[in-house]
């Protein structure tokens, strides 16, 4: 389980699959455009300022790339890139999580028995 990411294979990147790579790209864009997004959204979503300013706000928001949106980011499994069944605290798919837990690699995780 220590060699989860195989580093010595001839590949262009070491992501598990392309979806994981794209998700990573989206996260980076999110961080990059976060302040612009906040300001544009503030200008857009208010009824205090005049309409022209609000229009400018909507335009600014539209200019920001779509991949910079928070809704596009998916919390995938860090090892298998599974989009569903991800245990949030460990960022792992439930299958991977279970195998690690069985090998006693997760701190404080024990088989439930009551």
């Amino acid at each position: 389980m220590t060699n989860a990411v195989k580093l010595n294979q001839p590949v262009r990147n070491n992501w598990t699959d392309w979806r994981m790579m794209k998700d990573n790209r989206r996260r980076k864009l999110l961080v990059q455009y976060a302040p612009d997004r906040v300001r544009a959204k503030a200008l857009k979503k208010n009824d205090v300022l005049p309409a022209e300013i609000i229009e400018i706000g909507t335009k600014m928001l539209a200019e920001i790339p779509r991949d910079a949106s928070l809704t596009r980011v998916r919390n995938r499994c860090a090892i298998t890139s599974r989009p569903r069944g991800v245990v949030t605290r460990w960022r792992l798919s439930r299958i991977v999580w279970r195998s690690l837990a069985d090998y006693n690699k997760l701190s404080g995780v024990q088989r439930a028995m009551w």
Binding site: P35, A42, L43, P50, E52, I53
Partner: protein, 361 residues
């Protein structure tokens, strides 16, 4: 005369075997003597002596034969000559049809005349050499220049024409190589390197400089941008790896992280690592109105909007004070840029009516 008893026949066979294994003749004789004594205990001593004598004669005969054989071998070796003699003469005595030898019309070899530019430096060098050897010798100079021109022409021709292997030259080369191959003997003792007389250096640094390279123009290799970006990057990586020592195992990794301060300290403190933030008091986070004071109008939609922004920022625990200030400043700059629109819509009171130049009233 061979005695015809069983013992002697046995003895003969044993003798043959011993001869095959090339034991010394004296030993053979001795053993025969011993053998004869034990076996021929009943026989007379004279008879045994006779046998010994006969054995001696046999040995002598054998020696003589061996000597003859050796002599013959030597003769054969001497007679063998190194050069292989042909069994048959090369020229045959038969009158066979021979092809007519037609002299091919010699093609006029096109010698393209090149106006090869002899570099002025070369010319100068040639002139210097001629001057050094014999001053004001026009003939020598001209001959040297002519030779230079020839060389230049030949090189130009060779450069332009494609390379055609010269058959005569290849044949010569091949024959030369063959003669080299036939020589089988390898000289075991290497001829010692020619021993030169030791150079007498009187004064190493006191002599006058010869000035050979005083006028030399060394062409620097153009260190242009190499198109191998990946290679350069990998080379730099290798250099870094040579200097740094990445951890070889998990223990070393943990040690490195502990030293870097990346490892959680127990008991767990959620704000571990945020020392600078801890020093900044809450008042800087919450009371952001002073940042609005210099520029924001006291009333109006702009003020309303900025108040909302400030309230939101004050409630945000995730941003640093700098980031909050950045936000406020951005809005200030934005409203400054859209000043005309704000005035048109009536968000900001018109400046021309008022005396103060800033946005605030």
């Amino acid at each position: 005369m061979f005695p015809t008893s069983m013992a002697t026949s046995i003895r003969n066979t044993k003798m043959l075997l011993r001869r095959a294994f090339s034991i010394k003749r004296n030993e053979i004789l001795a053993r025969n003597l011993c053998f004869t004594r034990t076996l021929n205990a009943n026989e007379d001593q004279d008879k045994s002596k006779k046998v010994v004598e006969e054995k001696k004669n046999k040995a002598e005969l054998k020696e003589a034969k061996q000597k003859e054989a050796k002599a013959k071998l030597n003769m054969l070796l001497e007679s063998m000559s190194k050069t292989t003699q042909k069994a048959y003469p090369s020229e045959s005595k038969l009158s066979l049809a021979t092809p007519k030898i037609r002299a091919k019309p010699a093609k006029p070899v096109k010698q393209p005349v090149f106006n090869t530019k002899i570099e002025p430096e070369m010319l100068q060098a040639v002139e210097d050499v001629s001057n050094m050897l014999s001053k004001e010798n026009e003939a020598l100079k001209n001959s040297l220049i002519a030779k230079l021109e020839d060389v230049a022409d030949e090189s130009e021709r060779a450069r332009l024409e494609p390379f055609k292997p010269n058959k005569q030259k290849t044949e010569d080369l091949n024959s030369l190589l063959n003669t080299l191959k036939v020589d089988g003997k390898k000289p075991k003792n290497k001829s010692p390197a020619p021993k030169l007389a030791p150079v007498k250096i009187e004064d190493m640094y006191g002599a006058q400089p010869s000035g050979i390279f005083s006028k030399a123009h060394f062409i620097e290799e153009s260190s242009a941008v190499s198109g191998l970006a990946t290679w350069d990057m990998l080379y730099e990586k290798e250099l870094e790896l040579a200097v740094t020592h990445p951890p070889a195992n998990g223990f070393q990794q943990m040690i490195q992280w502990t030293k870097q301060g990346k490892v959680w300290q127990f008991p767990i403190d959620n704000e571990q690592g945020l020392d600078e933030e801890a020093q900044i008091g809450f008042h800087e986070h919450v009371f952001l109105e002073p940042h609005l004071k210099p520029w924001c109008p006291r009333r109006g939609p702009v003020r309303h909007f900025m108040e909302l922004v400030v309230v939101g920022l004050s409630k945000n625990p995730y941003l640093t004070v700098e980031q909050k200030k950045e936000h406020i400043n951005w809005f200030r700059d934005f409203f400054e840029a859209k000043r005309s629109i704000l005035i048109d819509t009536g968000a900001i009171p018109d400046i021309t009516t008022k005396s103060s130049p800033s946005l605030s009233t």
